[in-house]
């Protein structure tokens, strides 16, 4: 049916665009008397393309396409091609390379990477030759010192019920563990008792072992856990230890030790009626500075300040901010809440 309609319409157009030559020639005032041309032209008009045949072919093509191969077939073919690419059994090739070619390329890559690795190793080695293992090259990123408190159990919110030991037992365990290194016996054995109020400067080579000053657990008095093994948690008067981050070479201002002071951060200032600090000066003694780094200053124990919250409003969240005060101490960096200060909440239930 379709072919019929096509062939009926077929012969009209092919002549169409041949006219221009004749007309053009005439318009050009055909001086060129070319008889051959005229003969040819007539022949051309005679020639009608064998559209029929072409159409037949095409229709067959269409029919084939029309029957259609299931789409999965092409996928299958692709998969086969892929498979052949991965492993071609005829030419014994994998990924379009023969075994020989593969080994060559692997060897070359091996040598390339080996020499690259060698170069990098040499570079890194020379780099580390220039960097001291005892003293960091730069310390300005870690200054001014940060502050951290103990006990620390993932959160800075102290919620516990005095009458339920389960809610505060882990603080006690944490504190006990932390203070093991401060045991008086250990300190006396390992460290020296150095004069307070002045830097404990140990000149000498970088790589010489340095002595550390004693910081005994007993300095913490009521918060040492020696007299009250529950650090006051059982009575609703929790102890919280505060330590300043170690920084190699950091020295607080001479004659003006860094002090700690805590207060209610937001809300009624009377929520905390009294805090006891141990050592009573509430400060980090100068003799603990400077720090010489972990490699030589092996037994260095960070000085601590214990805050004993002896009278805090109960059954209410009290936000507390403890700040370091002293010359050269910054405690108001907006982005960093742990530089020179620490904020935590107390919620003691009875």
């Amino acid at each position: 049916m379709r072919r019929q309609h096509r062939s009926r319409r077929a012969p009209t157009f092919p002549h169409g665009y041949r006219y221009r030559l004749d007309d053009q020639d005439e318009a050009n005032q055909n001086y060129l008397a070319d008889e051959e041309e005229e003969a040819e032209e007539e022949a051309r008009v005679m020639g009608v393309p064998n559209l029929e045949e072409k159409e037949k072919e095409e229709e067959q093509n269409e029919e084939e396409e029309g029957q259609g191969q299931p789409t999965g077939n092409t996928w299958w073919q692709k998969l086969q091609l892929m498979n052949e690419y991965l492993w071609d059994p005829e030419q014994r090739m994998s990924l379009a390379r023969t075994g020989q070619s593969w080994s060559l390329i692997l060897v070359i890559y091996f040598f390339f990477y080996a020499s690259l690795a060698a170069v990098i190793t040499v570079c890194m080695y020379t780099l580390f030759l220039t960097i001291s293992t005892y003293m960091p090259t730069f310390t300005e990123r870690v200054k001014p010192p940060g502050v951290m408190i103990r006990p620390f159990a993932h959160s800075l919110n102290f919620n516990f019920n005095v009458s339920e030991p389960d809610t505060w037992q882990h603080y006690v365990i944490s504190l006990n563990g932390f203070l093991q290194g401060y045991n008086d016996s250990l300190q006396e054995e390992m460290n020296v008792d150095c004069p307070p109020g002045q830097y404990f400067i140990q000149d000498g080579n970088e790589d010489e072992d340095k002595k550390a000053c004693q910081f005994k657990r007993s300095f913490l008095k009521n918060c040492s856990g020696l007299e009250d093994p529950t650090f006051g948690y059982s009575t609703g008067q929790p102890c919280i230890l505060l330590k300043m981050n170690r920084i190699v070479g950091f020295r607080p201002e001479l004659g003006d030790p860094v002090k700690v002071s805590c207060k209610v951060q937001r809300g009624d200032e009377n929520d905390i009626r009294s805090i006891n600090y141990y050592p009573e000066s509430a400060s980090f003694d100068l003799r603990y500075y400077p720090y010489y780094g972990k490699l030589t200053h092996v037994n260095y124990t960070s000085p601590l300040v214990a805050m004993h919250f002896t009278d805090v409003v109960k059954n209410q969240v009290v936000p507390v901010q403890c700040q370091l005060k002293g010359k050269g101490i910054i405690n108001d960096v907006i982005n960093d809440h742990f530089v020179g200060r620490v904020i935590f909440t107390l919620n003691i239930e009875t």
Partner: protein
């Protein structure tokens, strides 16, 4: 991916529709036509075009027409009926279908990227857990939108240039309705309207002429041939396109007036059908689009496979599955070259701009490269290869053939002008000519002046003006007293003049015309100024000369004159051209003159260039085979030493059939022969002959030729100017329309417009196209390299647990900041060797991104870059306190916000924010390291084979602008914006800028070694595996 969805959606129903409507009346059929055209599959296209037209209005008498269309020739349609028809048929669309050119087009180009970037980006935004990536999704979306807008802007700019080309279709038509003449907007015309046209009008619809007074039309918008054709109301040919009584929509009426009846409007007009057919020919993907798609596949493949490998690793390392998925997405994102789309677009449009300066206006940016991969150019003859104006090429007088200068300016006429015969001949040429220069062109060079008159007369006028000086003055001195203009029965032109010699009272009769006709009228011949009787030998000499000139494909004219005796024809004699009261025989033959449309002087060079570039040039012309062959020979399309079958037959003096076809390198095939060929024969012909000329072909056969070439796997460029070329232009891989001679439809269908119609411009285009392909390779290699340096940190972060060396935002600043200008700068790189001396690239084998390119970029330079960057990273961390041994496995603790006393290698304790700040310093350092090494990468990418020092380090200044931009952007980011925490940049110590320099130098040295071995062992193993 350029296909409009409609083409496939209604395929079956479309065909059925046609079947049904076919049975209806003729008008109805055209309704479905447009729809149908676009519905057929590509392989039906040839048939489609041939079957297009079924029109019999030209055969009918006026009365039958009146009946058919329900109109009246004198009074026209009534307004009411016109309104009714208009309502039923709808108004005639005022413009031809334009190529859809909007956001959709741009989206096609951006699509692969959009997919990759946006896909991964939106996935990311779904999982806001990943480190800093909370707003990364938004950033990526913004990137996509911005690059999309950018690409659109670039496209729109070139579209605007095109818009300036499109001329307006006639706005007003003079129509007779209700027996009154009215001027109405032409889109309100309906079938049956009686319209009047006059010289200068564009014909507002297809019309059947009812009366005509000296009407001539210019059908160039339809056929591309600008020769005027006369129009009358007589039915002269069965074929509507050949008959004289039909005027076609959008053609121009040059002179005279005519009245006609509208028989088709809008898309149903011939031109509308062809144009809409052209828009139905499916657009093939451009080669560069295929390459970019291939490239995206590679990148996506690499990204996904690395992602999956590390997903498995992460899972087996006991990372939570959610985290592993986030890692997977992160890896994929890190692999996407976000900036490349903008780069490619800019690179292409830079080239397009450069090409526009060289007279190739590229409409479709991707076509820039297509031209470079072209392997066959099917070129028109007239106007493209030739100057498109008749020019005097040879003269024959005194039994001798003289050559005239046919160059563009005619300046160098070297033939012997001393002979008396020449003086006589010159006089005839000057006087027996009706062409005149248009007034007011005194300052314009002769060859550029506009002339009123036909092509041959113009040629003669200009020829004589150049040689003799002021022709008009000569004519004034030799007053014309009588004249018989040319007509097709006489085949001569005659005029009688007074002479300018005051002593000579005789009249001079001059005549020109078809040589044998002129010779018949002659009894003497002028040799060296002396009249001699025309005997056998001189007649033979004439014939030899005539045949020789004719054999050159030239149009030959004969010239003769006669001094009328003063006694018979006194001064007062009145000549009557109707009764011919003067002798027209026994004249004196003076000479022959032959004219040709000569090749442009730049074309032979261009053809030679094409040949050395491995591009086959095929001439496709409607002209006579002899002329076509002559031009082909003179421009080198048929080279001097190759022969056609006919040539061999002539040389060996045997019949054409006996010649072994394969001996002939060249072939001249006429349209008629082509018609009888089967598809296989055509394929064979195209494959086996290196030099082919198709003569006497119709534009439809052009399409067949194009398809044949494409079956051979060639990338085909086609030139064309007429509307009927537009399907072939569309079908070709790159259609090239003529800017001067081309019709709007051809320009719309084409991908490129040649502003000067010059073939040589195509060749410069090819050169640019090839260069851009090479340079895109370099750009992509450059861009891909740093991907590894951006990806490695993430992998190391997952596996070794280092603090993250480089953040996503920082990566974006590399991809869309420092790297953009340098990668564009590579587009300005000069070619390494003569790119016109190698074969066109193979579509399947010479990929834009091939295995060596990917491997070398990823596994060699990329890896070296990452190592260099890691050295800088470790330097920064070590000097701040974290030595590599501490860093390993530190990630978890490092990222915990609650840990504010993390110990480093020296026992110092860091708060989270201090660590964070250090991490950003690490980002910045890593960023600077990549930037520094990318400078080296940029320099090495300048060449692929030659040493940088051969190429010249400073020849491409833009590269240095790029390097400067990289450094300046990095400086601004680090020192200017270092305090803005959201950008994750910090002020970096000055010395860290130089840590990566040795690695940059290492990269440069390594690449020089690579290139050295490639040059040392061309074709060797190293070349095969390391040359991209």
């Amino acid at each position: 991916f350029q296909k409009t969805p409609e083409i496939y959606s209604v395929e079956l129903s479309g065909t059925k529709d046609v079947k049904k409507t076919d049975k209806g009346d003729g008008k109805q059929k055209y309704r479905g036509l447009k729809n149908k055209c676009s519905n057929f599959r590509k392989n039906d296209q040839i048939e489609e075009i041939k079957e297009e037209l079924d029109l019999d209005d030209h055969k009918l008498s006026s009365e039958e027409l009146e009946k058919r269309y329900g109109t009246n020739i004198i009074t026209g349609l009534s307004s009411a009926r016109a309104a009714e028809l208009l309502a039923r048929m709808g108004p005639m669309p005022s413009t031809l279908p334009r190529r859809p050119r909007d956001c959709q087009d741009v989206m096609c180009l951006t699509f692969p990227w959009r997919d990759l970037v946006l896909g991964s980006g939106s996935l990311l935004s779904l999982t806001p857990l990943l480190i800093t990536q909370v707003y990364l999704g938004a950033v990526l979306a913004l990137v996509v939108i911005l690059t999309g807008i950018f690409a659109y802007y670039q496209e729109a700019k070139s579209t605007n240039i095109m818009a300036s080309f499109s001329k307006m279709i006639p706005q007003q038509a003079l129509v007779i309705r209700d027996a009154e003449k009215k001027t109405i907007p032409s889109e309100q015309l309906v079938v049956g309207d009686i319209v009047e046209i006059k010289g200068g009008d564009q014909i507002p619809a297809d019309i059947r002429l009812l009366s005509s007074q000296g009407c001539k039309v210019d059908n160039s918008s339809l056929t591309g041939e600008s020769e005027p054709q006369s129009r009358s109301c007589d039915f002269t040919h069965d074929n509507p396109l050949e008959t004289k009584n039909i005027g076609f929509y959008s053609t121009t009426c040059l002179e005279g007036t005519a009245t006609g009846m509208v028989i088709n409007t809008g898309d149903r007009t011939i031109i509308g059908q062809i144009a809409s057919l052209a828009s139905g020919v499916g657009n093939e993907k451009t080669p560069i689009a295929i390459e970019i798609e291939h490239f995206v596949h590679i990148v996506a493949g690499v990204a996904v496979s690395i992602g999956i490998i590390f997903f498995i690793i992460a899972v087996s390392m006991k990372y939570p599955v959610l985290y592993s998925i986030i890692f997977l997405i992160g890896i994929i994102v890190a692999n996407v070259p976000e900036g490349l789309l903008a780069t490619v677009t800019v690179t292409l449009s830079l080239t397009a701009k450069r090409m526009a300066k060289k007279n190739c206006l590229v409409k479709n940016l991707e076509a820039v490269e297509t031209l470079g991969s072209t392997s066959i150019i099917c070129s028109d003859k007239t106007g493209t290869l030739t100057q498109n104006r008749m020019t005097v090429a040879h003269l024959w007088f005194d039994n001798q053939i003289f050559m005239a200068d046919t160059s563009e300016d005619h300046s160098n006429q070297i033939f012997d002008q001393s002979s008396e015969t020449w003086a006589s001949l010159a006089k005839i040429i000057t006087l027996c000519n009706r062409a005149e220069f248009k007034p007011g062109q005194e300052s314009i060079p002769i060859m550029k002046k506009t002339v009123v008159g036909d092509a041959s007369e113009t040629a003669l006028l200009k020829f004589s003006e150049v040689i003799l000086g002021d022709v008009m003055e000569v004519r004034k001195r030799n007053r014309k007293v009588a004249e018989i203009p040319f007509n097709s029965t006489n085949k001569f032109q005659l005029s009688i003049h007074e002479t300018d010699d005051p002593n000579d009272k005789r009249f001079l009769m001059v005549m020109k015309g078809a040589p044998e006709r002129i010779l018949e009228k002659c009894s003497t011949i002028m040799i060296n100024g002396q009249e001699q009787p025309l005997d056998q030998s001189t007649a033979k000499a004439f014939h030899t000369a005539y045949m020789e000139l004719g054999g050159l494909g030239e149009r030959v004219l004969g010239f003769c004159h006669l001094y009328l005796p003063a006694d018979e024809f006194p001064e007062t004699y009145s000549f009557d051209i109707d009764t011919m009261n003067f002798p027209t025989s026994s004249l004196c033959f003076v000479g022959l003159l032959s004219m040709i449309d000569p090749p442009r002087s730049t074309v032979p060079d261009a053809v030679t260039k094409c040949r050395s570039a491995g591009i086959k040039v095929i001439m496709v012309t409607g002209d006579h085979p002899i002329t076509a062959k002559a031009i082909a020979r003179s421009v080198g399309i048929i080279s001097a030493n190759s022969e056609t079958v006919e040539d061999i037959a002539k040389r060996l003096n045997i019949a054409v059939e006996q010649v072994n076809e394969w001996d002939a390198k060249a072939a001249v095939v006429t349209g008629m022969e082509l018609k009888d060929m089967s598809q296989e024969q055509l394929d064979e012909l195209l494959a086996n002959h290196s030099e082919i000329v198709f003569a006497r072909t119709s534009p439809q056969q052009k399409l067949i030729i194009v398809e044949g070439c494409q079956r051979l796997g060639a990338v085909v460029a086609v030139t064309g100017d007429g509307v009927n070329d537009s399907p072939a232009l569309k079908k070709a891989d790159i259609g090239i329309a003529m800017g001067i001679a081309g019709s709007d439809a051809a320009k719309n269908a084409a991908d490129m417009v040649l502003l000067d119609d010059n073939f040589a411009s195509i060749v410069t285009g090819v050169e640019e196209g090839r260069l851009i392909f090479d340079n895109l390779k370099k750009t992509i290699a450059y861009t891909l390299t740093k991907n590894i340096a951006e990806l490695c940190p993430f992998l190391i972060y997952i596996i070794v647990g280092l603090p993250l060396p480089i953040g996503t935002i920082t990566i974006l600043f590399i991809d869309l900041g420092t790297d953009i200008i340098p990668s564009i700068a590579l587009a300005y790189e000069k070619a390494e060797s003569d790119i016109m001396n190698r074969k066109p690239r193979h579509k399947k084998k010479d990929r834009l991104v091939n295995k060596p390119l990917a491997l070398y970029s990823y596994l060699h330079v990329g890896l070296m870059q990452s190592l260099g960057a890691f050295v800088v990273y470790f330097t920064v961390y070590s000097q701040e306190g974290f030595r590599p041994s501490t860093l390993i496995g530190l990630r978890l603790e490092w990222e915990k916000h609650s840990v504010n006393d993390l110990e480093d290698s020296y026992g110092q304790e860091w708060t989270r924010y201090q660590r964070q700040y250090l991490e950003w310093t690490g980002y910045t350092a890593f960023f600077i390291a990549i930037m520094v090494q990318q400078i080296a990468d940029l320099i090495i990418r300048k060449t692929r084979r030659n040493s940088i020092f051969q190429q010249g380090l400073f020849r491409n200044k833009v590269i240095w602008v790029g390097i400067a931009s990289q450094i300046i952007i990095a400086l601004i980011l680090s020192y200017g914006l270092g305090s803005i925490t959201a950008l994750n940049f910090t002020m970096l110590r000055a010395q860290y800028w130089f840590v990566a320099v040795p690695y940059a130098i290492l990269i440069w040295v390594y690449d020089e070694v690579r290139k050295f071995f490639i040059r040392l062992y061309p074709g060797g193993w190293w070349d095969k595996n390391m040359y991209y």
